[in-house]
């Protein structure tokens, strides 16, 4: 069963110029992205910075209004399209999708104690009794393995990892079914990263959560995700199971990304694929396949014809004209 189905999602940001603020152009941050997430799985959304992965996650949370497309979300046995709902009608569904933020320092209000931060979603959603709230906050702190005695502390007294645990507890407060984690460990020390990732996996098992995991660190992705979706300049280039995509990528961009994964063996010679030129400008993308100016397998067709995302094998979608002929290198 799909918890979330995103169909042809687009988000354009207008570029305004001049005194009258006329629209002079558009940044196509997300340009026709489709994917789905099954219940209980983790889909990793990867790509370099500026590729639109954060915009996709913000649109799903409706922190940003999408320009076009559908966001079908399965809740209480029915399916609603979050993209079309006005803000007010959205409210009852908000609690089912929660977010874990990248920066554990700016995501907690420094003027509130932990009990209030975690309890706020409860209070807003109708848990008026303070006693009841404290009980639930205690439960949540226990879930993320923080001592309940920390309840009255302010965020400044916590380390980055502990703050991220608080952020996770807040996200869990309303029993959400989908959690959007926007690079939840990239701001943490490597030693703490593993703890937080394992906590997330553990919670997924216990609570049956579904994750959309936005990341750029492929070693992290390999550890946590069931499937991987790769984005490049606002478009999806490849979606496949984690093991498949790491073993044999089908898109040249994915291959280049995977070649950048550090291998823990000093004797191995680095075989990194260095991409020439800069990443395309989403306000003025190249015609055809967005990746063709940097692609070492590009042919004439790639410059004019935009490849569609097609299923090349069961459960493997690639948008590349040469997906069938190329034999690309993965990692072991």
């Amino acid at each position: 069963m799909n918890v979330l189905e995103v169909v042809n999602l687009r988000k354009y940001f207008p570029i305004r110029k001049g005194l009258l603020r006329r629209i002079a152009g558009q940044v196509r941050a997300v340009d026709g992205v489709s994917f789905h997430i099954k219940k209980g799985e983790t889909l990793a959304l990867v790509g370099e910075s500026g590729c639109g992965k954060t915009t996709v996650s913000r649109c799903i949370l409706r922190a940003l209004p999408p320009s076009e497309g559908e966001i079908r979300f399965a809740v209480d046995g029915k399916v609603v399209d979050l993209a079309k709902l006005p803000k007010r009608a959205l409210r009852p569904y908000r609690r089912h999708i929660q977010m874990v933020f990248q920066d554990p320092f700016s995501s907690l209000n420094p003027r509130m104690v932990i009990a209030d931060i975690i309890g706020e979603p409860l209070l807003i959603n109708g848990m008026r009794s303070g006693e009841e709230r404290r009980k639930r906050v205690k439960e949540l702190l226990d879930m993320v393995q923080l001592p309940a005695a920390y309840m009255n502390r302010f965020p400044h007294a916590f380390s980055g990892g502990q703050r991220q645990r608080v952020g996770i507890a807040r996200a869990l407060a309303l029993h959400p079914s989908l959690i959007v984690a926007d690079e939840p460990v990239s701001a943490l020390d490597v030693s703490v990263q593993a703890q937080i990732l394992n906590l997330l996996l553990d919670l997924q098992d216990r609570l049956g959560l579904t994750y959309l995991f936005v990341a750029h660190d492929l070693s992290v992705v390999k550890h946590v995700s069931d499937r991987v979706a790769v984005m490049y300049v606002g478009r999806m280039v490849e979606i496949a199971g984690t093991a498949d995509i790491f073993a044999r990528p089908r898109h040249p961009y994915t291959e280049a990304l995977l070649s950048a994964v550090p291998k823990p063996d000093p004797r191995l010679k680095s075989e990194r694929i260095i991409l020439e030129r800069d990443v395309a400008d989403p306000a003025n993308p190249p015609p055809g396949c967005h990746f063709h100016p940097r692609c070492r397998y590009a042919v004439e067709r790639c410059k004019v014809d935009t490849p569609a995302l097609q299923e090349v094998e069961p459960n493997r979608w690639v948008s590349c004209h040469r997906a069938h002929e190329l034999m690309l290198r993965g990692v072991q």
């Binding site: 603020r21 949370l61 922190a63 409210r91 908000r94 609690r95 999708i97 929660q98 977010m99 933020f101 990248q102 920066d103 320092f105 700016s106 995501s107 907690l108 209000n109 420094p110 003027r111 104690v113 706020e120 979603p121 807003i124 959603n125 920390y150 009255n152 502390r153 302010f154 400044h156 007294a157 952020g167 807040r170 407060a173 309303l174």
Partner: protein, 377 residues
């Protein structure tokens, strides 16, 4: 960090200190940090003292500040001697007797008899805080003869006591600043907030208005506005009008600070988190955004106050602001404008001292507050 905040801590209570730090609120952290800034702390004390003077101006005054007497015009300051001839602690002043030199027609002051000082003595009538009618003053002469007077800082051309006038001027000048800041704070938060929340055309209109106001040279503008005040207005009416004029030009800074803070806080993750939890607009503004920039507003206010005080002083000095019989620092300095007064009575320049002291104090205080306002930065 913790040890720095608490100063010396022994090993035994470092654990409890850590606990205290962990549950310390924003206000406490700010205070702990502010406390370490000694200059700001001293400035804070000075500012408080000045406002105490403003509150008890009449009590601290010795003579009626409006009481004129041509026989003692330009009387020099008297020096308080703390110890009597026999060495006992008995403060006294040598009172002056004025007579006109028959040849030069100038006033000559003979320092003659010793008069002892007492405290809490009856003097002229006034109402404390506008409520209690009383005539008790901090200092006074013990059994004065007719013609004796206590002039700690001398007198001006009309023989009015400079010390008493400075006390009353402090009240006027400081409250004008305070009232002006309150008005501009209100305007600044309101318009800055509207500008940030609504954006678009509204934001555009407000920001361009601010730019136009800021691009006008202030002195000619004040002159124009002050000249527009009807000349038959009472002292009180002029006082309020001047306050409003100063405030109308000063709100722009605060409006920009507020707008900037709103815009930057709106992008903060914790605001997004509250939004995702389903919090309404009002809750987000009052529970999350306002507390976060309140400290900045307080700091901005303490930096805006001296500008207000300077504005009033310079306006009055130029004769555009308050007019006699009102008393303010600017009006006192007006008396020190001409070379004759300076040559004959240099003590009239004393009125500049409180202006300089309070401006410096406010600036140091504002700096300290601004630094302490963000304990996480």
């Amino acid at each position: 960090m913790i040890a720095r905040l608490f100063g010396r801590t022994s090993r035994a209570d470092s654990a409890s200190a850590e606990e205290r730090f962990a549950v310390a609120s924003q206000l406490q952290l700010t205070w702990w940090r502010f406390r370490r800034h000694k200059l700001a702390l001293a400035s804070g004390v000075i500012v408080i003292l000045f406002y105490l003077v403003a509150a008890f101006a009449d009590f601290l005054a010795v003579n009626d500040p409006q009481d004129t007497d041509s026989r003692r015009s330009f009387a020099p300051p008297q020096v308080i001697s703390l110890f009597d001839d026999d060495g006992s602690f008995r403060p006294y002043v040598t009172v002056i007797r004025a007579r006109r030199d028959p040849r030069t027609f100038r006033m000559v002051f003979d320092q003659s008899s010793k008069v002892y000082l007492t405290m809490f003595t009856p003097g002229y009538n006034y109402t404390l805080f506008g409520l209690f009618e009383t005539n008790i003053h901090l200092l006074g002469l013990k059994d004065p003869q007719p013609g004796d007077g206590l002039y700690l800082l001398g007198t001006d051309r009309l023989g009015r006591d400079l010390w008493s006038r400075m006390m009353v001027a402090t009240r006027v000048s400081l409250t004008i600043g305070l009232a002006g800041v309150i008005i501009s704070l209100f305007l600044g938060i309101l318009l800055g907030g509207i500008s940030a929340i609504y954006g678009g055309v509204v934001d555009m209109a407000i920001q361009r208005t601010i730019e136009i106001i800021r691009s006008m040279p202030t002195i000619p503008l004040w002159m124009g506005l002050a000249a527009a005040l009807p000349s038959d207005w009472s002292v009180m009416q002029i006082y309020f009008a001047i306050t409003v004029i100063i405030a109308l030009l000063a709100w722009t800074d605060l409006a920009r600070v507020v707008r900037g803070k709103f815009l930057s806080l709106r992008e903060e993750d914790f605001v997004t988190a509250a939004e995702l939890a389903g919090a309404g607009q009002l809750r987000i503004i009052f529970r999350h955004m306002l507390p976060s920039f309140l400290s900045h507003i307080i700091a901005a206010t303490s930096l805006a106050l001296p500008a207000m005080i300077i504005s009033e002083t310079s306006l009055s000095f130029l004769g555009l602001g308050l007019r006699p019989p009102a008393i303010s620092w600017g009006i006192l300095l007006q008396d020190a404008q001409n070379i004759e007064a300076l040559a004959l009575a240099p003590w009239l320049l004393m009125a500049a001292v409180p202006v300089i002291v309070i401006i410096l104090a406010f600036n140091f205080l504002g700096d300290g507050l601004r630094d302490a306002a963000d304990p996480y930065g």
